[in-house]
């Protein structure tokens, strides 16, 4: 069975994006995306768990029987998240202070269980890991996009405290876009997350539709010639 890695990548990043297409993982999504930096940190931590759980589950897929697969997947994911949590607390403590509250939320990200069930448990290691990376990056993309929009509208900054997340070299990312901005509280609060997410989902639909229309037009032209 051969795998089309371009298909897997495109699925993870866009066509079947966890947030924009599957609308999964909204609990961590809405909780952390007050700033783009937080979104990026959460996205990368989730990606690590996506990849590790895909690796473990695809390795173990022949041992695990369908009858008990769900509790075992949950167990594997919970152990991985706990290990990520402890590791971050010990070695990237400043980031953990920002994200610490949300790391346990990764367990509640049904998307990870969803990919374990739908992809990793049915495929060999390499495609499963690629799928994990791509799904994770797609999720990161969604978190950063949502975080960036909410941060710009809500506090007038972009990537504030990025240096905390990525080290001092990233300080240049931290920009005050609107000087003396009073802030727009609604966007920072959880309802703002829903509102911005709705606009992003609608935006994705619009792009997809215009792409489809263009492809159809090109196909029609080609047929005409």
């Amino acid at each position: 069975m051969s795998h089309d890695y371009r298909r897997i990548s495109k699925d993870g990043l866009w066509d079947n994006n966890i947030v924009f297409a599957q609308a999964l993982g909204l609990c961590p999504l809405l909780a952390v995306t007050g700033t783009a930096s937080n979104g990026l940190g959460m996205g990368l931590a989730s990606t690590a768990v996506f990849v590790a759980s895909a690796l473990m589950i695809s390795l173990l897929r022949n041992i695990i029987t369908p009858q008990v697969r769900i509790p075992i997947f949950v167990l594997i994911i919970a152990v991985l998240v706990t290990l990520v949590d402890m590791g971050m607390n010990a070695w990237v403590h400043d980031l953990h202070k920002v994200l610490g509250l949300f790391i346990p939320l990764i367990v509640t990200n049904c998307a990870i269980l969803g990919r374990a069930e739908a992809f990793a448990s049915r495929n060999s290691v390499l495609p499963a890991v690629v799928d994990g990376i791509m799904m994770g990056l797609g999720f990161t993309l969604a978190l950063v996009a949502l975080g960036a929009v909410r941060e710009v509208l809500g506090s007038g900054t972009l990537f504030s405290s990025a240096a905390l997340l990525l080290g001092d070299w990233a300080a240049f990312l931290d920009v005050q876009l609107i000087a003396d901005y009073k802030g727009f509280l609604l966007i920072i609060l959880p309802p703002g997350g829903f509102i911005v997410l709705a606009f992003l989902l609608a935006g994705k639909r619009l792009i997809d539709r215009s792409l489809a229309a263009r492809n159809a037009g090109a196909a029609a032209q080609a047929a005409g010639i």
Binding site: A90, W91, L185
Partner: protein
């Protein structure tokens, strides 16, 4: 394969599988805990030291604030750790955690006082107040919290230890009265706690000879 399939269908296999995975998961968590415990502990101490340093200026003590903390029972009957800054054997500053009832949950603060009962500093450790309104209690966002420095129960008098809306001395920033009220109440409670237990709290750190303890009693 035909013999493997029925074996995998048996209940005992499923039970072994679940049991085995639970065992491995537990073992991994134990290993993870052992590997990170010391580092996490060290990070916690660094955090605590950093927040203590904000409320107890380095000029008033020459010891490690985390050394020799005092364990006392607070007024609610709960254990409380009081960190002591000393010069020689004499206690010069004290710091402990106080809690205010904020708009959304507890506001944890750390309060530093000198032996005269004057505030050396107050800082927020954690809170869940409304972003943009209640979070002005954070020193990173507003210097409101610095307004406590140097105050005591004598200055202002205790009936003025309230937000201005309640007839007190302290600004209640617009839009969020509950948050500053909670902080003011917590700081006042901390100072009252210190006044009641002053003698016990400022005892010399190590009482080795009778003459020393007599000296402190004088």
């Amino acid at each position: 394969m035909s013999t493997a399939a029925p074996f995998r269908e048996r209940v005992s296999y499923q039970a072994m599988l679940l049991g085995g995975f639970s065992f491995i998961a537990t073992a991994l968590l134990v290993i993870g805990n052992l590997a990170t415990r010391d580092a996490i502990d060290e990070r916690r101490r660094e955090d605590l030291r950093a927040s203590l340093a904000q409320v107890v200026p380095a000029a008033v003590h020459d010891n490690d604030l985390l050394a020799n903390p005092l364990s006392v029972i607070d007024d609610a009957g709960l254990p409380l750790t009081v960190y002591r800054g000393t010069v020689g054997l004499h206690v010069t500053a004290l710091a402990w955690e106080i809690v205010g009832k904020g708009y959304s949950g507890d506001i944890r603060l750390i309060l530093g006082v000198n032996t005269a009962g004057e505030v050396l500093g107050v800082r927020v450790l954690s809170h869940a107040e409304t972003p943009g309104l209640g979070d002005k209690i954070e020193v990173a966002r507003d210097d409101w919290i610095l307004g406590f420095d140097g105050l005591s129960l004598r200055d202002p008098p205790i009936e003025r230890w309230k937000v201005d809306k309640d007839g007190g001395r302290f600004d209640a920033f617009s839009g969020a009265t509950i948050t500053p009220r909670a902080v003011v109440d917590a700081v006042r409670g901390g100072l009252e706690f210190f006044r009641r237990h002053r003698t016990a709290l400022v005892n010399p750190v190590v009482i080795t000879t009778p003459s020393l303890s007599q000296e402190s009693a004088e």
